[in-house]
Symmetry: C2
Subunit: 193 residues, 2 copies
Amino acid sequence: MTTANDARTRLVESMADLLWERGYVGTSPSAVLNRAGVGQGSLYHHFTGKADLAVAGIHRNADTLTQAAREALDGPGTAYERLERFLLRDRDVLRGCRIGRMTQDPDVFTDDLLRQPVAEALAGVRKTIAAVIEQGQARGEFVRGLAPDDLAATILSTLQGGYVLARAELDEQQFHAAVRGLLALLRGSVTAP
Amino acid sequence: MTTANDARTRLVESMADLLWERGYVGTSPSAVLNRAGVGQGSLYHHFTGKADLAVAGIHRNADTLTQAAREALDGPGTAYERLERFLLRDRDVLRGCRIGRMTQDPDVFTDDLLRQPVAEALAGVRKTIAAVIEQGQARGEFVRGLAPDDLAATILSTLQGGYVLARAELDEQQFHAAVRGLLALLRGSVTAP
DNA sequence: GTCTATAGCCTGATAGAC
DNA sequence: GTCTATCAGGCTATAGAC
């Protein structure tokens, strides 16, 4: 077993942070080593190279994302309340999404080993959202005409795109405006009590 | 004046394409030179360096985006029809947005000269969408309770985020699902004739 | 397991010929 | 204006000591 602060763990955590901040092509192994405070020997002992360490880093970020989404969506309340809690939860907006960002990285996009954990994480969140909508429809809280899968894609896209707008203009409010607009549209789909 | 096929133009076009494909940190000057078919002398004669050429490339991509958005949004039809035409226009989904992608590039995000044309392009499209919604509300085609600026941010975010989901899963349908969900929500906000 | 030293290649930019 | 030659420095990986 490993302790929580061994070199391997420090490498994965440092890589995960740098992937979020700078992406894969923008992150060099030496930058990871500096942040982790270990030498090159540790990196190439535990991993075959940069890509291998990045896979571990992406998995770590994916777990963080999946966990946070589940916490917001799995709690009590009506379908609308659960979606609202998910959409309004505290976020470091200008840092963007640690997983969504990976899709814009040319080397991640073209390497299945790097892209797959990204795909799984986003598909998982999407399906969790769709399940909440289906439950809402079954309970009569949500109009039935809307396809849960489509709506789930819309909701997750609004978040991912909200980060894009906010980062473009260095203005968190663009993210919050997109969420407000979506919530207003969703309220129109809540069936009257 | 310059002809349409001189070295300067070829450099800007090549940089614009590579920025779309690989982003700023993922694009080297030599890759641009190879694609443009010119030598280094041309680059450093017309531009001060990589960043300077990238500013020109981003401006070129921004113009393309702004032009395409205006064409879809400025035509005839009700507000909903114009938004639908904009949302459903032909796109090379898996290539993503040539401007939105820039927001994930660490060096673009932290350099105002590179980020500003990105901010202006997305803000311009956002405002054009908001104007369509305002017109629709004034004509009684759209419910008035919705804030045009918020809704415009939601619409543009859905597109930007749709690209993210599609690229993550290598599946255009994720983009189209997000658009379908948004259009369904928007239809609920169209006032009956 | 972790370190330092080393290697070959690429990056971004400059110099100077034409 | 455009070319080729050249440069210092960083990138990713390997070697071998401890």
